[in-house]
């Protein structure tokens, strides 16, 4: 079997008496869109945070692209090709959309110990930053402070910032959180356009979106992956239906 791009093995994370990750095993293959679903409190966001490096697991291993990154500090992971978006929008509110994208590109281009040239007039930042905004449909919103952008636009920019890092694996934590149907449809369209270009680990509650986008689905319940496979197989799995899909009605 081809070595997976991301392999999570036996990851445990406890908060007090609660195990948010209770021996998680998960593999994401190169090129696939892998959806991670599960009821609220199943530990999905915790797992994303462990893969992104924000939380350090108590036990287990995370291997990315053949390299053990379990102990790799969070700020180094984007350089390895791992980028994430946040469930709760996490942008720099006083910066414009273009400035947010420029900062992402600055990070991607190496260190920022450059003290002289005006970053806002730097065409080696501005031009690719405009490209990033165009990819997520925000080219007309470049000069608006992100605090004034609509919710759907902020969510799109979240994806844009991750894409600016040219990741090999995109970790998307509920990209459609809080969206109305029109915005959600636009987001699904955006993510469909990314399929095949970048591997995606997608946490999402919107089942229609999951079954449209995912090549494979893993189901996380109480910190454990109880099923993993093709969407239709997972949907038919009786244990999954009992633990999760049944609850949704």
């Amino acid at each position: 079997m081809v070595e997976p791009l991301l392999e999570v093995t036996g990851v445990v994370k406890r908060f007090g008496g609660i195990a948010a990750s209770d021996g998680v095993d998960l593999a994401v293959a190169t090129g696939e869109c892998h959806a991670l679903i599960g009821p609220n409190g199943a530990g999905k966001t915790t797992l994303i945070a462990e893969i992104a490096g924000e939380l350090s697991p108590d036990a287990g291993r995370i291997v990315f692209d053949g390299k053990d990154i379990t102990k790799e500090p969070a700020p180094r992971r984007p350089r390895l090709g791992l980028a994430r978006s946040f469930q709760i929008t996490c942008l720099i509110p006083s910066f414009t959309a273009l400035e947010n994208a420029s900062l992402a590109l600055q990070a991607h281009q190496g260190h920022s110990f450059r003290f002289w040239r005006d970053a806002r007039r730097d065409s080696s930042l501005r031009d690719p930053a405009r490209g990033v905004l165009a990819r997520v449909g925000l080219e007309d919103r470049a000069d608006i402070p992100v605090g004034e952008l609509a919710h759907g636009e902020q969510r799109a920019l979240e994806i844009g910032l991750a894409l600016a890092l040219e990741p090999r694996l995109l970790l998307l934590d509920e990209p459609m959180a809080g969206m109305g149907p029109a915005d959600a449809a636009r987001m699904v369209g955006l993510l469909e356009g990314l399929k095949g270009h970048v591997s995606i680990l997608l946490v999402e509650h919107d089942m229609d979106a999951v079954f449209r986008l995912a090549d494979r689905v893993s189901v996380l319940v109480y910190g454990k992956v109880i099923a993993s496979g093709r969407p239709e197989d997972v949907r038919a799995d009786p244990e999954v239906r009992r633990a999760y899909l049944g609850e949704e009605g």
Partner: protein, 312 residues
Amino acid sequence: MARLDRPLIAVLVVFGLLALVPVYAVAFQQPFYLSLFARVMIFALAAISLDLVLGFGGMVSFGHAAYLGVGAYAVGILAYHGVDSALVQWGVAILASALVALFVGAISLRTSGMYFIMITLAFAQMLYYLAVSLKAYGGDDGLPILKRGSLGPINLASNVQLYYLILGFLALFLYLGHRVVRSRFGRVLEGAKWNERRTIALGIAPYRYRLVAFVLSGTVCGLAGALLATLTTFVSPSYMAWTRSGEIIVMVVLGGISTLTGPVIGAVVLLILEEILAKLTIHWMLILGPILVLVVLFARRGLWGWIVGRHG
């Protein structure tokens, strides 16, 4: 267009007026104004340096007077031992304050928020008491400097020449400050202030950037201290008093946080008000306090925001 130029016009007016002070002082034989405004400009320089970390980096250093003191003591101690080249005195002052800022910053930046405020204050207090304990250099009473250093063709003994040199430094560092905060470095610093989590997710570790900003800031503040010692030909632990650190913060907030030019205006207004009010009454603090409260309440970006409107 004309409105967009307001910040530039305001800067030119401020520097124009500052440049005219010696003319006035000499014409009307009021040498007092020379030393008063020279001191104002030195604090303006310290306030600019604080604004870099406080305004742009979001690091509330409550111990910036320490660098003022380190710079001043470097000059005082060297002068005491007969080193009278200002270049050497100031060079050592810059180096010493950079090292102290590196040490303090490297430790303090592991904390944030209230802890950062307290730890920077604690370091400044340690240096204050260190200066008090330096009996060989005057201890509590301070250390007089017999004569100002020499600086090639510039005669530092001349109050006018020293004044314009300080004005030149202020203009230079205001310009450099503007470059830095607009650069890639400045964007990272500001980005990390607003959303540290986001910058980390982009692959930027804010600590190193903050530390560099802290050292740059401490170094410029150290130069201000060296100039202060040269101007007053006297150094004392009071330069490092925690009230002094507070005063520099007030200058920044009063003038306009994260504006760089605002703190210059804040320094001018605060020190001149102090001067005027202290002549009126010994209870001048009672008048100054409410003025500060009103400015903070009603001018969103301090006096600078009020001067330039929304375009600052």
